[in-house]
Structure formats: structure tokens, C-alpha cells
Assembly symmetry: C2
Homo-oligomer: 242 residues x 2
């Protein structure tokens, strides 16, 4: 019996119609499906593939042992997560060694700020692993704004809202086009940094890009708004255009 | 008769299997297909959809009147291109007003450094225009390297090789993860800037990402190499990883 393959399948921004033809085929033929989720939640990745994966597929939810309960700066954070990823890896490798192909659901693009990379780096020297790239959440977000994000020689900078305020402000100031991800509870800090960089008035807030509940608004029209972690802020570049 | 729609359809990095389900459906049902190309060439976008679009589809090649014959800094460059985009727009609007839907082929993602945006901004207040996002060329490139491009709080910077050397070097120095596009004849300048930023040894050169002739190599192993304009250079971030 030959060893199975772990497929890290990018699901894209959320609309199943925007998945790749390859992802669609792998999902509809899947016999083993693994996905990350917060304990006690259905999981956004799993929800995106509702009605796509066969009823007969064996599902393996991988529940994060911690999300925001331990600060990132606490050494225990990395210890706990590292043990978690090692457990997930053991399970997936066990299945593959029994000959099973496993589809791991990845929101967005697997190699772009995705959790799958923590499995990938542990598995890639042990068993076959393939990565199916996808439309990023930020592509979904800038498309939703109805305006191109980069023109000509614009420099695009992608920042995480988890960075400290000074770093955010400095890098926002340098950027032509700008994407900020991981917003959620970081939104007030991100607002202050955008103001300091002179880009606040031009910033758009996109929630649930490409999904039925998608919203697009100027950030300045969303004062005081509570927004999900996976919201995205976009500032469009203004480069050369004939 | 109702006005038709212009669809700006992102084709992704080149592998038809990585097109979105929506793009695949629009292409296979297309009755009018428009695409940019250099005069006298088949055109890369058109080549990607070989065998996908119906034989009966009416094709409208839009041939750039100029690519590198006039320098970007010459005012005539913008004038010539502006007239060209206006002509293309007139033709597409004429078709749509006769009730036709038109698929415009876009390499990569239409709103990310794409030529389609020049048609989009001219058409969007006149007739219905829809944009189908796609996997970017850079996603195809970093997936081809077999390593995640961004971890944790890494800052991603996307630079065009057409920028001046000092700007390139300064922004490369600030970046955690780095993508450089529009390489081609800019490669020697890009190499010098990467060296000045201390990132030369970590840079990968990806040609024809996701296509049958894909190559991936360390840039330092490709000394003296002539590489296409659409080659991509990737430097991976080294951020937090449990």
C-alpha cells in the first residue's frame, strides 16, 4: 500500500464559486477532511465547504488549544501551540501511512499567513504534501471595493493589525497601497496608526469579503464599530494611469 | 434588448486547473472574448485559455501600440496608451450595447497591477462591469518555492522591478517577506538592490509559475540569466512559528 498525500487546499476568500477548479475537485472527492477551528465553534473553513464535501467523508476537526487566552509574548503560547501542531501532524501522518489521502481545509491561500504552514513544515519531509494555492482574502476584499488596489509602480504593503502602533504608523506612511489584516480587537490601534500616517480618510473596511454578508464601507463611516478578526482594511494605491 | 456585461475574468498564474470555478464557467460559455497582447504575438492570456473557450467565440485582440519603445517618462507614452484604451473601451461598449456579454481575459488578478483596470475605470459608469478575482501570479510563485511566504506578523512588501534602485534597496531593507515583479530587463538593478539590502542570498527566482515550463531557483544560482518580464522574485519571511 502506498502512502497517501496530505493536500493543503486553499478555499479562497469564502465564496465557493471562487475556489479553484482543483480545490473544487479535491473537495468533492474527499474521503478524509481535516480543518482547524476554535473549540466549540463549527469553524469558518468547514462552513465554507458545507454541501461540497461528501457526507461519507471522515472529518477531523483540529481545535486550537488557545487563541487569545495566553498572550503571544508568553513562552507558554508557543509551547502549547507547538504540542498541538505535533499532535495534529501525528494523526495526519498516521492516516497517510494507512494509504489515505487527506484534504486539509485552508481559508485564503495556504502559504499566506495560514495555519496550514505549521503542519506543512512538520510533514513535508515525512510524507507527500501538496499545496493548492487560492485567491487570498485580500484579493476578495479589494475586489469588493470596486476599485483596483495597485497601479503602475505602486508599492503594496501588507500589515498585521497585531503589530505595535509605531511600526504600523511608520509602515503605513511608506506604503502606496496598503492592506491591513487581523483587525478585530486591534481596530482602535489601527485607526490611530492610519491617522498618524495620513491615510485614515482613504481607508476602506471590508467584512466577510465575497460572502453573502459582505460589507464595504469607508473606515471613517464605521466609527466605534466592532469588527471580526478576519476583517480587512484596504487603502488603494494612486499610481500611474494612462 | 438589455445591455450586456463586461466580465474582467482573472485567469490566475497560468495553470487552468487553478482558475476559479466561476472563471472556468464564464470562459467555457463565452461568446465574445477580448484580450491584450503585444502586436504580432499570440498573447499569454489567450494562450492560457487555449482549448477552453468555444471555437465559435468571437475574439477581439487588443494590441498594445507600445510596450518599451517609448520610455515611461515620455509624455507621449501616456498619450498613446490613453488613446488605445479609449479605442478598446469604445469597441467593448459597442458590443455590450448590442446586448453581448464580453469576457476580458486578465492574467493574474484583475485589480492587482493588471491592464484591465484601465478599461474598468473607463467603462464602469457606462455599462455593467463585473470583476472575477483570481489567484495572483505571486501566490503561484511562492507556492512553487515549497515554503510559506509569511508567518506570524511578517510584513509583506510587493515591489515592481521598474522602480529606481535606491527605492528598491530601501524598501527591500524594510521588508520581512518580499515579492518583486516585472523583472525582465530590470534584473541587474534588482540584484544590486537585493545585495544592498542584505537579502540577495535568500532570494528565489520563479519563472512561469504553475505552468509546464515552471522553474524555481535561488537567484544567486541564476547569475547572468536572462529572464522574462513576468518572472517573480520571492524572499520568504522568517516570522514567529510555534
Amino acid at each position: 500500500m502506498s502512502t497517501g498525500t496530505v493536500f493543503g487546499v486553499g478555499l479562497g476568500p469564502g465564496d465557493p464559486d471562487l475556489m479553484s477548479v482543483r480545490a473544487d475537485r479535491l473537495l468533492r472527492g474527499a474521503r478524509h477532511v481535516a480543518f482547524f477551528r476554535k473549540a466549540g465553534r463549527p469553524g469558518q473553513a468547514r462552513r465554507i465547504v458545507d454541501g461540497m464535501i461528501p457526507d461519507s467523508a471522515e472529518e477531523f476537526p483540529m481545535e486550537y488549544p488557545v487563541t487569545t487566552e495566553i498572550p503571544l509574548t508568553d513562552p507558554r503560547y508557543n509551547e502549547v501551540l507547538s504540542a498541538f501542531y505535533a499532535d495534529c501532524t501525528d494523526h495526519l501522518r498516521g492516516l497517510a501511512e494507512q494509504g489515505a489521502d487527506i484534504v486539509v481545509l485552508c481559508e485564503g491561500d495556504p502559504f499566506f499567513y495560514g495555519s496550514f504552514m505549521h503542519l506543512y513544515t512538520r510533514l513535508k519531509h515525512q510524507i507527500p504534501v501538496e499545496v493548492v494555492p487560492a485567491i487570498t482574502g485580500m484579493s476578495g476584499a479589494w475586489t469588493a471595493t470596486g476599485a483596483p488596489v495597485t497601479w503602475g509602480d505602486d508599492i503594496l504593503t501588507v500589515l498585521m493589525g497585531t503589530l505595535d502602533e509605531d511600526t504600523l504608523a511608520a509602515r503605513m506612511g511608506d506604503a502606496d497601497a496598503l492592506v491591513v489584516m487581523k483587525i478585530g480587537r486591534n481596530i482602535d490601534k489601527v485607526r490611530r496608526a492610519l491617522r498618524a500616517a495620513g491615510k485614515y480618510e482613504d481607508a476602506y473596511l471590508i467584512e466577510y469579503a465575497t460572502m453573502p454578508n459582505q460589507t464595504v464601507q469607508l473606515l471613517s463611516d464605521a466609527e466605534g464599530k466592532v469588527t471580526p478578526y478576519f476583517s480587512i482594511i484596504v487603502v488603494h494605491g494612486q499610481g500611474r494611469r494612462p
